[in-house]
């Protein structure tokens, strides 16, 4: 814990993340063009947490891939929080190296100077202390997701991208993992963008929720949340959910 809760040099980059995708088209296998994104523009303030919510197949993963630099064929522009800073991703699947232990999977993303560093606190806070010498094949999906989170936080990124990190987990496990994410993230807030289908999740974690339309995606609206995370009790959550549902019909 100590390492993570100590005052730490400012996390995240100095600038806001600014995404401005004017158009993104895929060339399908049959040669026909698929318009995935029409116009998505939003910004995420330094060290704040933004969530993208939209119907399935609307282009959320595509947006994240563009932010991660995995897809450069789009028109528009992108400004990262810190040009030289590191970016961490938690993908829809854990994407661990099956032939490496949990510990190695996390250490491999560190630079050579950091690779021998002390990760005990990080593993401890994520409940992975006992799992470090296991191989990914021996982990449940929930545990593998935690390792993916550990890996993302280990590099102390200036930008963190999460694509439905808790999908296909039972509600209890998902709730625990959300709490873990809130803990680790709050200990060292960094600029984060998360995709989810779960509005409750978004309300619990975010400073800003960006709603997207059907494909081709446009921004349908942005909802700001100012309440500190510690004060977001269940009554406040229900009230917020109701007010969002009223504003954006069909979202729940």
């Amino acid at each position: 814990m100590s390492n993570l809760s100590k005052p730490i040099p400012p996390a995240g980059g100095p600038n806001a993340l600014e995404v401005d995708i004017r158009a993104k088209t895929f060339r399908g296998a049959d040669g026909e063009d698929v318009r995935a994104i029409e116009a998505i523009a939003f910004s995420v303030a330094p060290a704040s947490f933004a969530t993208l919510i939209g119907p399935s197949g609307c282009g959320k993963t595509t947006t994240l891939r563009i932010i991660l630099g995995l897809d450069r064929e789009f028109s528009g522009s992108l400004k990262l929080p810190d040009s030289g800073g590191r970016v961490a991703a938690v993908f829809q699947e854990p994407r661990l190296l099956p032939w490496r232990t949990v510990d190695d999977n996390v250490r491999l993303v560190l630079s050579d100077e950091e690779a021998d560093g002390d990760l005990d606190d990080l593993f401890e806070i994520l409940g992975l202390a006992e799992m470090r010498s296991r191989y990914p094949a021996e982990l449940s999906l929930g545990l593998a997701r935690r390792v993916a989170l550990a890996r993302a936080f280990a590099i102390r990124p200036s930008l963190m991208v999460l694509d439905e990190p808790f999908v296909s987990l039972d509600e209890q496990t998902a709730t625990r993992l959300r709490a873990l994410l809130t803990n680790v993230w709050s200990a060292r807030p960094t600029t984060a963008v998360m995709v989810t289908h779960n509005l409750r999740e978004a309300v619990e974690l975010s400073d800003r929720i960006i709603f997207l339309t059907e494909r081709p995606a446009r921004v349908r609206g942005v909802y700001e949340i100012d309440k500190p995370r510690a004060e977001r009790d269940s009554r406040w959550r229900e009230a917020t959910l109701t007010s969002i549902a009223k504003r954006y019909s069909g979202i729940l």
Binding site: L70, A88, F91, L108, P136, E138
Partner: protein, 276 residues
């Protein structure tokens, strides 16, 4: 009819009990021993029945073995052949893997070089060996090179298949986390290709030593192939078999004590149930 059916079902009912109970307790090792002993017995009986110089009995072969083992001659020739096999194997695996991985990752290159590959796959080993000796002389480099060239196309095909199945997701992960090229190769790419390396070396080792004997027969003055040619001219089948079996034993030793432990080590991360 009725009897038949009855005994049939009875037999089937007994099967699981005896099959599951007896065989595992006997152990796969013993089954192998019994099986080899059976083969030896058939050979022995056939040799006694034939009573001919061209089909010696096992003791005659053993005698030939001791004769050449005592002078150290046998071990010298085994070592020479083994040296060529190992050198050609390493050469073929390294060159073949590099070419195979490149072709598997680059569609255009693959389209261009695929005809070459098919051509090389279909050139008889003998032709490559003869041409190598003519072009490069009757020397060790030509011999080892000829063996390797025979094997390279196989390695290329296998590793190309492996490179085509590389996981895009893991590659993207490596890119996002800024793995260096070396790190990606070592921790992301090569482990995925491990089964293909294993397959290529499996088929490789047996193919290579067979070709090595031909190479020695045609243009070397030592090695198992040279000795076999010598004893062929003397019509000494016992010695031919002695050399052959000795080298097979060497290869099996390598398989059991080097290849299999290495494979077990490099696949230790796989869930246990997936292993046979």
């Amino acid at each position: 009819m009725a009897d038949d059916r009855q005994s049939g079902t009875a037999g089937r009912a007994l099967m699981p009990a005896s099959g599951a109970g007896v065989l595992p307790s006997v152990g796969p090792r013993l089954v192998t021993v019994v099986s080899l002993a059976g083969l030896l017995a058939i050979w022995w009986v056939a040799a006694i029945l034939a009573d001919s110089r061209v089909l010696p009995t096992p003791p005659q072969v053993a005698e030939a073995f001791w004769r050449d083992a005592a002078t150290g001659e046998l071990f010298f020739h085994l070592a020479m052949t083994l040296m060529r096999v190992v050198a050609a194997f390493v050469l073929a695996m390294v060159i073949g893997s590099v070419i195979g991985i490149c072709l598997g990752m680059n569609r255009e290159a693959n389209r261009f070089f695929d005809p070459w590959l098919i051509l090389f796959l279909n050139i008889p080993a003998l032709v490559i060996i003869v041409l190598a000796y003519i072009w490069f002389g009757l020397n060790e480099a030509a011999a080892i090179g000829a063996i390797a060239v025979n094997k390279i196309p196989n390695v290329v095909v296998t590793l190309r298949e492996g490179a085509r199945t590389l996981d895009r997701d893991l590659e993207e992960m490596a890119r996002v986390y800024r793995f260096s090229a070396m790190k990606t190769l070592r921790h992301v790419v090569l482990p995925q290709l491990q089964p293909y390396f294993a397959a290529a070396s499996r088929t490789g080792i047996s193919l290579i030593w067979k070709i090595a004997l031909v190479v020695e027969l045609l243009g070397r003055s030592n090695g198992v192939g040279f000795q076999i040619n010598l004893y062929f001219q003397l019509f000494d089948v016992a010695s031919i078999l002695a050399y052959t079996l000795a080298f097979v034993a060497v290869m099996l030793t390598i398989e059991f004590f080097l290849v299999q432990p290495f494979e077990a080590h490099s696949t230790r991360w796989r869930p246990k149930r997936a292993r046979g």
